[in-house]
């Protein structure tokens, strides 16, 4: 009982699967994780890292599911009926945003257009744009935003199609200096999986999330 309680309160997700991939038990962190990733995907991951015979296998690998990143995985089984997965959470990648004198008003659609027209100048890429044009001019660090978008386009310049979606995230807010700000998401997606290295984008005031074929940049709507 004590160990079950301990696992329930653990900050790292824990899932116990049966031999068919059905979840037999999991903690609250795992429940949160299951909002972003399916049980099937996690079960496949478990099988992929399971040891050849009974026992525990620990690997230091970087995994990212939406906003959560993990630095290690532990898979263990001692019989044919059950297998356990435990992921080790990295310190949150969401960074506190600091509003400083570099924040200036700009139109994000203009900035995206500028970045697109310079980085993808001679590239034959089909780009579909879905913009919520009701988004007003906002205050942001223009230089940092452009450098980040440039980096994203540079990493995507071998892809034949990109969809860019700019929208307001409903129900999510960013708290900066005790003030609540709506979040604007800029989403770059492709029909195919994307090779993207979030570490190449050095951003102090922007949050980037990457999952398979979607790169999402989130910025607070500071007017």
């Amino acid at each position: 009982m004590f160990y079950e309680e301990l696992l329930e309160h653990d900050l790292n997700p824990f899932i116990l699967f049966d031999s068919n991939g059905k979840i037999k038990n999991c903690n609250s962190e795992a429940e949160f994780l299951l909002n972003f990733v399916s049980a099937d995907e996690l079960f496949n991951l478990t099988l992929e890292y399971a040891s050849v015979s009974f026992g525990f296998n620990k690997k230091f690998i970087r995994l990212q599911f939406e906003k959560q990143t993990f630095y290690a995985i532990l898979v263990g089984y001692i019989n044919e009926e059950e297998i356990v997965l435990r992921l080790y959470k990295e310190v949150t990648i969401s960074k506190p945003i600091i509003i400083d004198e570099n924040f200036q008003e700009a139109n994000i659609f203009t900035l995206i257009e500028l970045s697109k027209s310079t980085v993808l100048l001679d590239k034959d890429i089909q780009i579909d744009e879905f913009y919520d044009i009701s988004i007003p001019d906002i205050k942001l660090n223009i230089n940092e935003f452009l450098v980040t978008i440039n980096n994203i386009f540079e990493q995507l310049n071998n892809i034949s199609n990109i969809s860019i979606k700019v929208y307001i995230k409903t129900g999510e807010y960013e708290i900066i200096d005790n003030k609540k700000y709506t979040i604007i998401a800029i989403e770059f997606s492709s029909k195919h999986n994307i090779v993207f290295d979030t570490h190449q984008t050095n951003t102090a005031n922007l949050n980037i999330f990457f999952n398979k074929n979607i790169i999402r940049l989130e910025i607070p709507m500071i007017i």
């Binding site: 200036q104 700009a106 203009t110 900035l111 257009e113 500028l114 027209s117 310079t118 980085v119 100048l121 001679d122 223009i142 230089n143 452009l146 450098v147 440039n150 980096n151 050095n202």
Partner: protein, 247 residues
């Protein structure tokens, strides 16, 4: 010419990027080979700003002969000429910069949030044709000619707009020459050669090579050439043999 030419789709897009970056508080780096229009584009982004050659500005900063606080924006040509670019750019942190370079300089991605790469003229055919038209007209006006034939295959694009203009002007100058001009040039040339102790026989090629080249172009066959020039066919063949490789 005072405007960046925008006849090709790619240069239209480049101009669009330049306009979008005009009012943004970010630095722009314009990359391209010699003569592609980097300076013109820089001047369109910052039309009222002072322009410096990077090397010259570096010297002014080192010798403290410039007060950078007086400038809110500047244009810098040939950034690649600066020895220590990092240190140089640190002096300019509060100034909006539009710099030009013929090198990629990927290291400075965070300093230059806008990077515009201008392709060579050979990749922008519509711009090339427009420039040929502009430079030809300019040359015709200067030499007071009404018409000039430009052989596009003889145009030099190695230095893009710079060598293109030079080769067009050369074409037009040659077409504008009278017999008197040619004799005068020859006289001047021969005088210099005589200082080098050249003989009559050595200098004869100056006259014979163009004559034979023009004859081949006009008559094709040796029979017709010898007939027209009224020289013996054996003599003609001997001369063609002597100048083989130069004709």
């Amino acid at each position: 010419m005072d405007k960046f030419i925008t006849q090709s789709p790619i240069s239209k897009q480049i101009k669009k990027s330049a306009i979008l970056s005009m009012n943004l508080p970010v630095n722009t780096l314009i990359i391209g080979e010699q003569g592609v229009g980097k300076k013109l584009l820089a001047q369109e982004i910052l039309p009222n700003s002072t322009a410096f050659y990077a090397k010259e500005l570096e010297q002014l900063i080192i010798s403290k002969h410039i007060d950078l606080k007086e400038y809110s924006s500047i244009i810098i040509y040939h950034l690649e000429d600066v020895i220590n670019i990092d240190e140089f750019l640190q002096h300019l942190t509060n100034i909006k910069i539009v710099a030009t370079t013929n090198q990629k300089l990927t290291k400075y991605n965070t300093i230059f949030a806008v990077k515009i790469e201008i392709p060579s003229l050979s990749q922008r055919n519509e711009d090339l044709q427009k420039l040929i038209e502009i430079y030809t007209q300019e040359a015709l006006n200067i030499y007071n000619l009404s018409k000039g034939d430009i052989d596009n295959t003889k145009l030099d694009l190695n230095g893009n707009g710079i060598t293109l203009k030079q080769s067009i002007f050369k074409h037009i100058v040659l077409q504008s020459m009278s017999q008197k001009d040619i004799l005068s040039i020859l006289e001047s040339y021969l005088y210099k050669q005589l200082q080098k102790n050249k003989t009559y026989k050595e200098l004869l090629s100056i006259f014979e090579i163009p004559l034979l080249k023009a004859s081949i172009k006009a008559f094709k066959s040796q029979l017709k050439i010898s007939k027209q020039l009224a020289i013996n066919r054996v003599t003609l063949r001997k001369k063609l043999h002597n100048y083989f490789g130069e004709l």
